[in-house]
Amino acid sequence: MNIDYDIALTHIITRKKQTLIASLGVTIGVAIYLFMNSLSAGFTKYSRDEIFKNNAHLKVFKDDEYCKPLNKDTSTLNIIVNPQITTTTKNIINPNNLLTQIKQQNFITNAIAQVDLTVFYNMGKTQIKGSSSGVNILEYNAMFNNEKYLVGGSLSALQSNLNGIIIGKGIAEKLSLKLNSNVTISSSYGVVKVLRVVGIFESGNGFNDNSKSFINIATAQQFLKEGPAYITTIYANTLNADIADTYAQQLQPITNYKVEDWKTTNADLLAGDKTRNAMMGAISLSILFIAAFGIYNILSSTIVQKINDIAILKAIGFSGKDVIRIFVSEALIMGLIGTLFGLVFASVLITLMANIYMGGPVGYFPIYFKADLFIQSFILGMLLTLFAGYFPARKAANVDPVSILRK
């Protein structure tokens, strides 16, 4: 072993208390950093999951169009336009062809067609306004995994019954509906049907629970007085939700309809996520910095105490580089011990937190072990100790042995 490391190790071993205190600082810093970032990642995942309850990665629909002047030349004429929405129907023309085309894209994992409509739930004199989605419920479940929110009935009951409906729990309570009750549904096109409640869901989202229902596509088309080719929206999932916006751009050329990614649809929620992540990151990083200052302090005082030793080492032939190596490796040893214990400590905290039951739709506290966060914390912990060690070490390297030894 190189004599520099030998000396560093001896210093560390003979000064156990200081080593321990410096390491403890790093332990706490790294643990809090990792814990807070895991927490933040957990929250982000939770809010993503919330978003993906109702949103696919991509959504294809007919956007509203505005009338535009026929003459595009505005240099000679002043054109006064009264903008008006010119869209008469919201449906996608030849949806099956488009759906097949979308499914053929190699980045698309799953795509479904849907008919959205506004409906009224009637029971006696009580009427609730809401929205219904006409879907192939099993395909829909494959994308949104909504079976787990079902508190009564089953999805397959809807699949096999054209006169079936799955309603939110809020609607059921307001209209005193139970499983297998009949409910009168009317659409804005004047179509009225009596449907049988084959399922009740509770998603945890009050708005959905109080207004949303699922019916078969064919039933929805009947409510709108449309034929079997009538589709309002196509939802598609992609390989990677994080880059859904680029996929949206790739998908846009194959259709005239609007392709929108989930980030655009939920920009407000994502902005909240970003703010929280930035805040948590800043706080945890500051704590890590303070921990690094612990190492800086202890090493600085060690160097003051050992100034005679440094002088004699330089006299007997150790160069400035050797001195830097000695004290930087001391810092790194302390940092390594501290960081490793910090990772263990954070794991304990995460495990404890993950076992706290929050109740309701959240369930257990949303915090997870994420390997990349562990690696990131380790690298950051070591990097900061490297810096914290380097500056005092450089000071030691610049000690003038003559001024010490002549005393």
């Binding site: 004599i3 006299a315 007997i316």
Partner: protein, 228 residues
Amino acid sequence: MQSNTKQLVLSTNKLSKYFYDPVKFKVLEEVSFNAYKGEFLTLVGKSGSGKSTLLYCLSTMDTDYNGELTILEQKVTGKNQTQLAHIRNEHIGFVFQFHYLLPEFTCLKNVMIPALKLGKYSKQEIEERAYHKLEILGLKDQALKPASKLSGGQQQRIAIARALINDPAIIMGDEPTGNLDSKNSENVFDIFKQLTQEFNQTIIAVTHDLDFAKASDRTIELADGRII
């Protein structure tokens, strides 16, 4: 003594040095002298005469001087700190008034450190050589004790063993007997004498002990930064 061979080990040519704090002051004025192989040289002079300053210039640790310093036919003036550190490691041994042993290490390890730094021999060989040096100085039985557990005289001898481990051409001493009683001083003197005679090493020591200086081969006396 060994003047028949007269092999040059260290020489200075018009070495001058200033102190700037608190006012500009010339400590050394064009000091030129030669030191030869196997010579026991002492630097004497009144306090403030510049003898210690001269020694630290010779040691290569102080580079802030004018003039030229040559060690073992190598011009030392103008080399960078890393090169100088290597020269000190290989060719110069130091004995100070205070022992400056590293308190965390055993006596043996203290002696071994300069050799481990030089890396010329394997660790095993270095350990054997360190034991041998300690034996010469009569401290073999103390080898595995921590350096801080020894008496002042013993510590100073350990420091001498450390200075000898790389068989340096020159051993420099800054008041090497300054902290020792007369018996231990005599002991150190005898060791130095033995080194020059048996191992042909050169000793340059600053002292204000006139008996010590008288008994050496040659004494250079400084006054106001000049050799007189």
